[in-house]
Symmetry: C2
Subunit: 219 residues, 2 copies
């Protein structure tokens, strides 16, 4: 079989993407160098990452893009299915389920949830995670719907709950992924499907958002 | 003034501890080497960290210990004040408030919450965070009280909520700390005190734990 130069390049690029995602997921983003990724992907050229992606930021954007288009498709479908009288639970489900459905559909063990958790926690490049979805039309629609049905609460309470729920959901997905990938975590977690985990995560997130605000002096 | 050799060593040790905590908080744990810490602490000897703490794990344990005894004291006091008919909210407050009160009492900007958030997310040494409090008598009492008043729920739901609330609280504290330390975050967050943030975090955590479990097939 003759592999054209263009095809070979695309294959190498995809291999580097998958290798980088796995190494970042397992060891953290700061702990892995472009050189290590090139080597682990079997590239004789230590600068393969630089050649294909420019720098680490370019590589990370490419990893995010490689998942976001598929997540976006699922979100658009879930959004189309949502009823006219959707409440807080339905909108939160619409925020969480697309990524989980995407993770569940990947072949073999997934690494993307752990990659996202490391990225979100990175003080220098964590913003890339939120940048990458800022352009999503379906996400904007879901967030608009969600904010419309939320009970009134002071802005600082809302801001706090927003970042808390983001952290919580990102790390919950990473925990589930880790558990499914190997030993060491609670068996009661490993024994359930992604869809069941999604239900549990949505329940807890709904509770967080609907919790009464007792801090009377916060405005 | 004559500084004895022992005193000087203790001063250097303390300086290394504080420098390491700050650098880890700002850049992440994997991104900072022992050598960088020694240098930033003004130690001519690049191996000062090794000399005082052995390795990175020893250093991290020492940072945790330097806070935990004080947090433990506050927790014992909060625990003594808790009423006989404490409910879920009171126990959660007792789990969250001691660390926040400790952070609020530190001189100048604190870095400990961000340090803990990075540590918790570290795939290799994250366990040190939980190890360090496993010996706390007051924490064991608070957890016992908390579990006693929780509504019944299937074990996987409980396990999921436990890790979700841990991630959420650790990162919420880190977010507040980051906001208080500088520009860039929501003004509505920066304008409030640690105690008000504590109220907001407790409210959301109570909501998470009291949320109805809708996943009927999870056991």
């Amino acid at each position: 079989m003759v592999v054209s130069k263009g095809n070979q390049s695309a294959t190498t690029r995809q291999l580097l993407l998958e290798t980088a995602e796995r190494l970042f997921a397992l060891h953290g983003i700061a702990a892995v160098s472009n050189r290590q990724i090139s080597r682990a992907a079997g590239q004789g050229n230590n600068y393969a990452v630089g050649h294909h992606f420019g720098d680490k930021v370019g590589l990370i954007r490419a990893i995010l893009e490689s998942h976001n288009s598929r997540i976006d498709e699922i979100r658009a479908r879930v959004l189309a299915e949502i009823g006219y009288i959707a409440g807080v639970r339905e909108w939160i489900d619409c925020l969480i389920r697309p990524e989980i459905e995407h993770l569940a559909a990947l072949d073999g063990p997934s690494y993307y949830a752990r990659f996202c958790a490391h990225l979100a926690a990175d003080p220098e490049i964590g913003y890339l995670l939120y940048d990458s979805v800022a352009v999503s039309q379906s996400l904007t629609e879901v967030l608009t719907g969600f904010y419309r049905v939320l009970p009134a609460m002071p802005k600082p309470v809302m801001d706090t709950r927003l970042t808390m729920s983001q952290h919580m959901v990102i790390h919950a997905m990473a925990d589930v992924e880790r558990t499914m990938d190997g030993p060491g975590a609670a068996q009661s977690v490993a024994a359930h499907s992604w869809s069941q985990h999604c239900d549990m995560i949505v329940d807890a997130t709904v509770g967080l958002w609907l919790a009464p605000n007792t801090s009377r002096d916060v405005r």
